[in-house]
Symmetry: C2
Subunit: 305 residues, 2 copies
């Protein structure tokens, strides 16, 4: 799957991923109204609205981008029905040829981590039957528990030819609280980066490993160091746009081959119609506003090469 | 809710929690057969079997214990239907008067962490309506992202009078990979422990904070240090029994008041009927085997005081 990701990024000349992190306030009144009139002001109604919102965005941008990244928290907020909207979103995106990065940030130990890995990347067994459930292509994983938490994901990823992105230096302001603390002269995020590099060596695609890393766009200097520490890891870069990361800061995330990083934007794309710049589209045409925002993001990111 | 937890632990003289981490291999053939004959070898069938298995265990042990700790990964493995079994398990346990600790190990940033906090501890808004979804009393949270990831949980916990347990020193063999690394002369888990203590000060119940910590039974010496670092944090202790922790090692997790820790056992209780010691009960009476295992665990743990 890392080979497919690299191929799609090259073919579309688009090292970007659209984050499908819907909030109710992003969803235009018409979509909400339709869903509520069918299912009432219920969890099912909210979930239907979320799915229809995502579908419209996917339909408008799928030919421009290699991948989408649904953030499961925004779905889990609506309980079982929300999780069903997450599942449908993953399924629909794949049907449109997109690679799906499940932003799930799971991490536990042994059989527990294995259960998450099976649910999201693998196949669940019931009696003699097997089910691919959420069926993402990549997921994000939290490293705090060490290799015990990572290994089950590596095993399932290897079997299914899929991949993972391990949290390394996250984009949020307080990410340094633990991640920047110095251990033997190096920050913790670098120690984690060394491990990602080490674990990734046994899990190589053609040119990149399918063990990648998450490093926030908001920390370009750290990305420069980390790029050297783990040259074969693909870097998933959140924090561009709404969180303050700008294009010229993204250069150090990439290798000299122009590859090695994929930049995420969520609300900057999916809620584009709410920005002054795109308000001419109107709420009715929010999908077209998202397409325009993707085109602008692509221009912005291509300008750094 | 921390006050209620302390009260129940005292009244039942039972500083223990039963981990509801069902695996298909734990579920007796009769329960599986009933569920499959009603729903087929489907995800719904598996989820029904999981719920009925949990229900039988809860019915047999609820009067002896203050709390249960369902591990969401084991449910997520069965997708949307599995998450419904998790929800039903939480609901049923609460109906029987038990405190529910959702072992979800979530952790993200800002609005994303908020979405998890709302789903599990708070109320989800849809239009003018509010829904308590999974409605756990406590959840476990991963600290790797720093206070940005914790704060939304603290806010919701405060509003709802609930609580959290933050991963500090986990029970697994490789937990030291990052957690034991030395920062300014102290291991990372101690730095995390200091933060748990600091964050917990603004979130006090009557005698303990509702910001607790997870420390594995497999690391009693570290628990001794950490007990001093965060005297007011309740410690959730996994790793007793199946993972190798034994009762005499549990002393350092408790304060001198005999409180401050709650010890989890999962498969040691829920799959007790599979052990030689309890096989006389037979698979038919697995609930009674679990009750006997709880009674033995209580005797074992009470012996340390």
């Amino acid at each position: 799957m890392i080979n497919k990701l690299v191929k799609e990024i090259k073919e579309k000349n688009a090292p970007i991923v659209v984050g499908l992190d819907p909030q109710m306030s992003f969803i235009p009144a018409k979509i909400l109204g339709n869903a509520y009139s069918e299912f009432g002001e219920t969890l099912k109604g909210a979930s239907e609205a979320i799915f229809e919102f995502n579908k419209e965005i996917i339909d408008n941008v799928y030919d421009l981008i290699p991948a989408v990244k649904p953030q499961i928290a925004m779905y889990e907020e609506f309980g079982v029905e929300g999780i069903e909207a997450f599942r449908r979103t993953c399924e629909y995106a794949k049907k449109k040829g997109l690679i799906v990065i499940g932003d799930i940030k799971r991490g536990d130990i042994g059989s527990t981590s294995k259960a998450y890995a099976i649910a999201h990347l693998g196949k669940t067994k019931v009696g003699n039957k097997e089910y691919s459930l959420f069926n993402e292509d990549f997921v994000t994983v939290n490293p705090y528990l060490g290799i015990d938490g990572i290994k089950p994901f590596l095993e399932v990823a290897q079997e299914e030819k899929k991949g993972i992105f391990i949290l390394c230096k996250t984009s949020n302001p307080s990410s340094g609280e633990f991640q920047d603390r110095i251990i033997d002269g190096k920050p913790l995020y670098e120690i984690v980066g060394e491990k990602i590099n080490e674990w990734g060596k046994d899990h190589m695609g053609d040119s990149y490993s399918y063990v990648g890393a998450v490093i926030g766009a908001t920390y370009p200097k750290m990305a420069e160091e980390l790029r050297k520490v783990m040259p074969k890891a693909y870097i998933l870069v959140p924090g561009y746009g709404a969180q303050g990361g700008i294009a010229k800061d993204l250069k150090p995330f990439f290798n000299e081959d122009g590859l090695g990083a994929i930049v995420n934007s969520s609300r900057g794309i999916i809620a584009a119609y709410k920005q002054e710049k795109y308000e001419k589209f109107g709420a009715e045409n929010f999908g077209e506003a998202s397409r325009a925002a993707v085109e602008d993001m692509l221009r912005d990111i291509r300008s750094i090469f």
